[in-house]
Each structure stands twice: as structure tokens, then as C-alpha cells.
Amino acid sequence: MLEIDLLSPVPVYEQILLQIRAAITGGELALGASLPPIRQLASDLEVNPATVAKAYQILEKDGIIRTAGRRGTFVHTEAGSNLRDSLVKDASGEMRDLVRKWTGRGLERRDLKGIFEMAMKHEGKRETA
């Protein structure tokens, strides 16, 4: 089930695509499963069909879903690995921005590396706890 908060600072199309990704990762949507048509989802969410279309376009570009014309839209059979690739790509982009930001403020790269390793250790402890 998708739940969209229209007052959220996160754009609606991004909420849609993030939740579809989460549904695939969480097993709610199986590989190869059908997705609702753009008009049906837009009508149910009371949003513009162009908003849903944008989310679907991004997901298709990332290889998470595939559209087969009149036959409909389906979760890509390679969605699992494509999701990982897409997450790696997003994370890499954010990491590069972070490195640029903090080196721009005067931190050394070795400082950043140390901070990153500490953060990984801290998250690892949190998970095992």
C-alpha cells in the first residue's frame, strides 16, 4: 500500500518511487508483478497523472520497472540487482557531494576517511545492539 503525504517537503513523485522501491525490497511487490496503470494510481492518490508518470519514468530508467505498452507495467525481473546498482549510484553521488562540501570547509581527506570509518563502526554497533 502506498501512502503519500501531500504536505511533506519530499515531492510526491519521489515518495511514490521510494515506496515502490521499498515495496520491491521488502517483498510486497514480487519480481515480474504487475503495477497499476498510471491513470489508476493517479486517480486513487488524487494526483496529476504526470506526477505518477514521472515516478514510473525514473524507475524504468533505473531498471526497476519495465513498461510493455498496452500490456502494462511490471516490476523488472532484474529489479533486485538494478535497485542495488541504483542505490550505489545515488549513494556515490551523495558521498561525492559530502566530500566536496567538507573539504571546501577545510577538512582534510584523511579526516573525512576517519569520520566515515567511525560512522560505519557506530552503525555496526547499533545494528548488533
Binding site: 504536505l7 497499476p36 486517480s43
Partner: protein, 302 residues
């Protein structure tokens, strides 16, 4: 005597549609309008209390007018007048009342702001998701048999071509209407009361439409069998369309008096009475009508 029995039967049909099923459906649509934003409705208590129930006056007024017309037609002793009330005037009454409540609910929904949180199911809505194959396959078989009897009869020369074309025109029209109704029920936005209610609501709607489809397919097959051979077992009188296609004469008095037509008419009337009772007694509608919006229920609570 026949007119008296018919008047009682048609009167029950009017009561079932306008006074039994009609109020239930009108109230359920009002609940659906209010569920557009339950939090807002509860916060605007005055608005909620003044719009909690739709007016039943249109339903009552149309029912009383139809019953009065039916009584008058019966007293006149005119089968054509009785048919006019039971057929086209009844249909106009249904259309008029539907249009009234549709507009009223549409105007009300414009006054209620949309909920800031919207929900949607991520699965594809298909007929097979709501109705099992054993409810659908026999309908397709029935309609296909009607089609085969018509085409086969015309091909073998046991059915007049004009009669075949008329039957196929009706069959095509009914198939089109049922297909359209089924697709609209699948496509319409979800009931916002809850996902469970939406699924139940859609299943119930689809079952009603399918039941009407079975009725129409049975009538089409009955028509087809009643059009075969020079001495058919159940000779169907030509309808107005058939008469035009066959180039024959059409007589209302002959058509209305013919036993096969009467059988279809009575069956359809009893069917409508039963559907009215089915709707009024449906657990889905009872669940929808039980929701109290003064308490701002969350969808998961319904």
C-alpha cells in the same frame, strides 16, 4: 386479473428500487463523500451534522408518483399504459434520481478539502482478483451459446436473417453495457474508508453487475431459442427493432400480450426486486453505513 397481478409486481419493483435499495445507496454515497477527509469532517462538526444524511425526498417523491401512475394505468385497464409506467417512465425515474444524487454528492465533495494523506493499492485491479473463474466462465458460456444459436440458426436457414440481426444487436448492446460497467467498477477510485472496504465494495459491485449480465445473457438465449424454426417452442414476438429489420409490422398490443415477452418481463421484475433486497441487506453497505464520522475514524479502524 393479469393487470392486477402485474400492478402488484411492478409496484413491488418500484418499492424495492426507490424505497429499499435507493436510500441505502444514497446514504452509502454520502458516507463515501464524508470519507474524503474524515479528520476535516470531524473538526467541522456543524457541517458534518447538517450534511450527515442525504435527503430522501427525491426517492420518496418519485416512488409515490410512479405508484400513483401505475395505479391509474391499472384502473384504466390499459396494458400499454402499465408498460409505459413500468418501462420507460420507471427508467426515467431511475435516471433522474441517479443524476440528482450524483450532482449533490459531487457538489458536497467540492466543499470538503482532500485529505493530506492519500493511499493507494500497488496491485493491478483485474476482474479475476475480485471474482473467481466459476462466477465468470458460465456467463461467457451463456452469451457464447446465445451468439452461436443466432449465427447458426441464420446460417442453417432456421432463423430469419432480420431476426438474427435484431437478436445480435441486443446481445451486442448488453455485452457492451456489461463490459463497460465492469471496467468502470474496476477503474473507479478507491473507497477511502479502508482498503478492506474498498475490496469488499468492488467485489459486491462486480457481483451485482455480473448478476445483471447473467440475466441479460439468459434473456438473449431465450430470444435466440424462441426465434428458431417456423414453429418455435417459445415463439418470440418481434420487438420494434426486429420488425424494422425484418420489414414486418409491429404491434404493441400483440407484443405486450405475448406469453414469451411476459415471461421475460416477470423474470426481470422479480430479479430487480431481489437485487434491491440484496443491496439493502449487504454486509458491505451495513459496514459503510455504520461508520461514525463524528469520531474521525482512521481508515485502519474501519
Amino acid at each position: 386479473m393479469r393487470l392486477l397481478i402485474e400492478s402488484i409486481l411492478y409496484g413491488l419493483q418500484i418499492v424495492s428500487v426507490f424505497l429499499v435499495a435507493g436510500p441505502v445507496m444514497a446514504r452509502a454515497e454520502r458516507q463515501r463523500s464524508l470519507s474524503r477527509n474524515p479528520g476535516w469532517a470531524a473538526a467541522n462538526r456543524e457541517f458534518l451534522l447538517s450534511h450527515r444524511q442525504p435527503s430522501m425526498s427525491p426517492l420518496t417523491a418519485v416512488a409515490l408518483v410512479l405508484l400513483a401512475l401505475l395505479a391509474a394505468a391499472g384502473l384504466l385497464g390499459s396494458p400499454l399504459a402499465v408498460f409505459a409506467v413500468h418501462g420507460p417512465i420507471f427508467a426515467l425515474g431511475v435516471a433522474g434520481v441517479y443524476a440528482f444524487y450524483w450532482k449533490q454528492e459531487r457538489d458536497l465533495r467540492k466543499r470538503i478539502p482532500g485529505d493530506t494523506v492519500q493511499r493507494a493499492d500497488l496491485s493491478l485491479r483485474t476482474l479475476s482478483r475480485f471474482l473467481g473463474p466459476w462466477s465468470r466462465v458460465p456467463l461467457i458460456a451463456l452469451a457464447s451459446t446465445a451468439l452461436a444459436v443466432n449465427v447458426g440458426g441464420a446460417f442453417m436457414g432456421t432463423m430469419q436473417t432480420g431476426r438474427c440481426l435484431g437478436n445480435l444487436a441486443y446481445l451486442g448492446l448488453f455485452a457492451g453495457l456489461i463490459s463497460y460497467a465492469l471496467s468502470q467498477s474496476l477503474r473507479r477510485p478507491a473507497y477511502r474508508t479502508s482498503g478492506e472496504t474498498d475490496s469488499q465494495g468492488r467485489t459486491f459491485e462486480l457481483r451485482i453487475i455480473l448478476a445483471v449480465g447473467y440475466m441479460m445473457a439468459a434473456v438473449a438465449l431465450y430470444h435466440a431459442l424462441g426465434s428458431l424454426g417456423s414453429n418455435p417452442l417459445l415463439p418470440m414476438p418481434p420487438s420494434l427493432l426486429h420488425a424494422k429489420l425484418e420489414g414486418g409490422r409491429f404491434s404493441w398490443s400483440h407484443f405486450l400480450a405475448a406469453a414469451p415477452y411476459r415471461a421475460i418481463d416477470y423474470a426481470a421484475t422479480v430479479f430487480l426486486i431481489a437485487v434491491g433486497a440484496w443491496i439493502a441487506g449487504s454486509p458491505f453497505y451495513r459496514k459503510v453505513l455504520a461508520v461514525d464520522f463524528t469520531k474521525a475514524p482512521r481508515p485502519s479502524e474501519i
